[in-house]
């Protein structure tokens, strides 16, 4: 396998940190793909094509990870030695969970509403606002990243995962409604 560099940030020539210049990230992504993409090796030997495909897949993975604020948070935490099992661990913040239950109920009822798309859209907008707020909190915690702050960041990430799952389910419901047309 290729060993481009130690981590995704270094691969893109960016400082390790939660706050990221997304335009710069995208520009460097394109630069990297220009070098490694298999189309650059369409008439090369089988070996070069194989390695280029591995390289391009790694660059894609790195880009997708850094681009998404939730995946970026998880990746940064893993660089700091915190590997979460997100399947198993979940937030114990009672108030947050209560709110989530209420939002879930609204989503469940959306399909019976006269304009379900509108209900879903407003729920998704609400969720996006919550995620944005958490991204801000995450940036604060990860700036100096003391052990306490890392614990706090971990808790924020658990909540982010929750919200992301909600957004995913809302989109699935939309897709389901589309199919009934």
């Amino acid at each position: 396998m290729l060993d481009f560099s130690k981590n995704f940030f270094e691969l893109f020539g960016l400082p390790v940190g939660y706050i990221i210049d997304t335009d710069q990230l995208a520009a460097r992504y394109r630069e990297l793909q220009r070098v490694v993409h298999p189309d650059r090796y369409a008439s090369a030997s089988g070996q070069e094509r194989r390695i280029s495909m591995q390289g391009a897949a790694q660059v894609n993975e790195a880009y997708q990870t850094l681009k998404d604020p939730i995946r970026r948070a998880g990746y940064l935490l893993s660089l700091k030695g915190i590997d979460m099992d997100l399947q198993k661990e979940t937030t114990r913040d009672g108030e947050f969970l209560m709110e989530q239950l209420e939002l879930r109920e609204e989503l469940e009822q959306a399909r019976e509403k006269p304009d379900p798309y509108k209900v879903i859209a407003s729920l998704v907008a609400d969720i996006n606002r919550r995620i944005t707020a958490l991204v801000g909190q995450m940036a604060v915690q990860l700036e100096t990243a003391s052990p306490d702050q890392l614990e706090a960041a971990r808790e924020i990430l658990r909540k982010m995962q929750f919200l992301q799952k909600f957004r995913y389910d809302a989109e699935s419901l939309e897709a389901e409604l589309d199919e009934m047309v």
Binding site: F4, V35, V36, S43, S45, E48, I51, E179
Partner: protein, 623 residues
């Protein structure tokens, strides 16, 4: 082309040699071939000056007929004349039955996954029929260009699934073509529109062909075409419009459902003619000869036609909405909508699509030729005729890929609209003591239940070392290449044993079936298959030698110690010795041996190219 020639364009050591390449639009209704000649891209015409080759193949005892002649014989010989084969390629018999079409062919009823059509010369698969169309196009190109094609780019609908892509590639293999890339049709159209540095921004490509519908949302930035999302319906197109009209005629004229094949063919032809007429005129007239010899005459107005096809057009807007959602965009954020495919000539299609995206659609390039033109431009670059070109196409996989888990549920491993190439790994374990084998079922689709997704393949992992239940850690890696084709590798982590993977494609042909078809085809009855394999190995050996020699010249001293360089050179000279021998297995082994010994060097060069691309970069460089 060697690695550093790419990162330092324009410094190629090898003398520039123009190689013949072509772009092929293998369409449902019509196919085309295009090429770049003296810097100009053009679609190639037949001896009568026609661009389009009808995608119709007729099998007769005297030989195979492709194109216009075959199409004109479809009515008189419906059972041996295959049209719209693209609707069948990569599909199973069950899919074919539910395609909604009253397909006028006789399928052999059997367990085989690949539908076989009975003809006067025996059974043919959709892959073989497609290969005939490809052969006809290649012949046209080679006659026009006066030489053999070194490689082709074949376009496929973006929404084609893995089985359909694999089947298309198999057809190319049968036609003896070197496929540089399977390119998504909307991406090809974007390239043809020259949506280059002048039109940076987000664009939608609406592609409604004869049998498929595709929508792609892509962002253009300094020559990089980044597909953000794609969607569509691989069984919706102009054929369905014809069918709606044909059904209307049947209703009006009192024609029975179970009429003969020839009757149905004629109705479809009349319906298609009416549809085309209604693009320019307000009414279309019919005169249909019924089976009892009497005539039915009628008239269809454009307003009536619009009413008939509106539900179909609205059906295309659902994937549009979903693709926008996946790209996290609203219709208003789309700068341009490019129209592709013959069916976008229908005024009502343009009207509704324009309404949806709130912008008048772009229709400047002939929608029939735009895809082939884009494919030819890409083929010219991939074959190496334009080493300085900075164009790059980044595509996505159209459908989620996953595996079956407990309870008939699907676990997604690679979600739809992930940029390809991509590789993702997933770990499994055994559930019984001493278990040495495990079945993995690969699925494609967005639904949660196995029964609602499409089965792609079943893998059997064998030779797992016996352990207590739950101790084995089997890592299965799914990789999707730039063509959108999936491959799977499995490894038991704790022991390092590489588990054997047996692939049973659910809807494709096995390698041995393809080999068998090659052997059976007339071309290879004369031409020995062994000789072909030998030539392939010799060509690959030359490619490896050439690439490595150029690489050593360029950076051998920089990246290798004297001792390493000597090792690489001695390995190289061993392959040179046998590269033109007569033993294809020995050449194959020689290539593998050389590659094993040089892998570190190729990787080092790739790493070096990457760090060079990123070194000294600062924000200013990009702005």
């Amino acid at each position: 082309m060697a690695l550093l020639q790419l990162s330092e364009p324009g410094q190629s050591t090898a003398p520039h040699q123009h190689r013949l390449a072509a772009g092929i639009d293998l369409g449902t209704t019509n196919s085309l071939v295009a090429t770049v000649r003296s810097g100009q891209v053009e679609t190639l015409v037949d001896s009568q000056g026609r661009n389009l080759l009808p995608s119709v193949v007729r099998y007769t005892t005297e030989g195979v007929v492709v194109g216009h002649e075959a199409r004109s014989q479809a009515v008189e010989d419906p059972l041996n004349t295959i049209s719209s084969v693209k609707r069948l390629i990569g599909r199973g018999l069950d899919d074919v039955k539910t395609l909604g079409g009253r397909l006028p062919y006789q399928f052999r009823q059997e367990q085989a996954a690949v539908p076989r059509i009975q003809t006067i010369v025996g059974e043919v698969t959709p892959i073989e029929v497609s290969a005939e169309i490809l052969r006809a196009l290649v012949q046209r190109a080679e006659t026009a260009l006066g030489g053999d094609l070194a490689g082709v780019v074949i376009t496929v609908p973006a929404y084609f699934d893995e089985a359909q892509r694999q089947a298309t590639k198999d057809a190319a293999k049968l036609a003896d073509l070197q496929v540089l890339r399977l390119l998504n049709e909307p991406t090809a159209a974007a390239v043809a529109y020259g949506l280059d540095s002048g039109s940076d921004g987000v664009h939608a490509i609406y592609d409604l062909g004869g049998g498929t519908f595709d929508i792609s949302i892509l962002r253009l930035n300094r020559g990089v075409f980044e597909v953000l999302s794609t969607g569509g319906d691989s069984a919706l197109g102009g054929d369905d419009f014809d069918r709606s009209v044909a059904e209307w005629i049947m209703q009006q004229a009192g024609i029975q459902e179970h009429s003969g094949h020839a009757m149905l063919r004629r109705l479809m032809r009349d319906a298609c003619a009416a549809k085309e007429a209604l693009t320019d005129s307000a009414v279309a007239d019919f005169d249909v000869e019924l089976e009892d010899g009497s005539h039915w005459q009628g008239q269809l107005t454009r307003a009536q036609f619009n009413e008939l096809v509106d539900p179909l057009i609205r059906k295309t807007l659902i994937p549009c909405r979903r693709a926008l959602r996946d790209a996290d965009l609203t219709p208003q954020e789309i700068e341009d909508v490019v129209m592709v495919g013959g069916s976008t000539r229908i005024p009502r299609v343009r009207e509704l699509v324009g309404e949806f995206f709130s912008t008048p659609p772009l229709v400047d390039i002939d929608p029939d030729r735009v895809v082939a033109i884009g494919a030819a431009l890409q083929a010219d670059i991939l074959i190496g005729n334009k080493p300085d070109d900075q164009m790059l196409l980044l595509d996505v996989n159209p459908l989620s890929l996953g595996i079956e888990t407990m309870g008939g549920l699907v676990e997604k491993i690679i979600p739809r609209n992930t940029t390809i190439p991509v590789a993702r790994a997933q770990e499994f374990t055994t559930f019984k003591d001493g278990q040495t084998a495990m079945a993995v079922h690969v699925l494609q689709g967005e639904r949660e239940l196995v029964k609602d997704c499409r089965s792609l393949a079943r893998f059997e992992l064998r030779d797992i070392p016996p352990m207590v239940a739950g101790a084995a850690r089997i890592q299965v890696t799914f990789a999707v290449d730039a063509d959108g084709l999936l491959s799977v590798e499995a490894r038991e982590q704790s022991s390092g044993v590489k588990a054997r993977v047996e692939v049973k494609p659910s809807y494709g042909l096995t390698d041995s079936e393809i080999e068998g078809m090659l052997r059976d085809s007339i071309e290879y009855a004369r031409d020995d298959l062994e000789a072909r394999h030998l030539r392939e190995q010799q060509v690959e050996a030359d490619r490896v030698i050439e690439a490595l020699t150029a690489a050593l010249e360029r950076d051998g001293d920089e990246l290798l110690s004297a001792e390493e360089r000597a090792r690489v050179e001695s390995a190289l000279s061993e392959l040179v010795k046998i590269a033109h021998g007569e033993d294809q297995r020995a050449i194959k082994k020689g290539i593998e041996a050389l590659e094993n010994r040089c892998e570190f060097y190729v990787e080092r060069r790739m790493n070096s190219s990457v760090s060079k691309a990123m070194s000294g970069r600062s924000v200013e460089d990009f702005e």
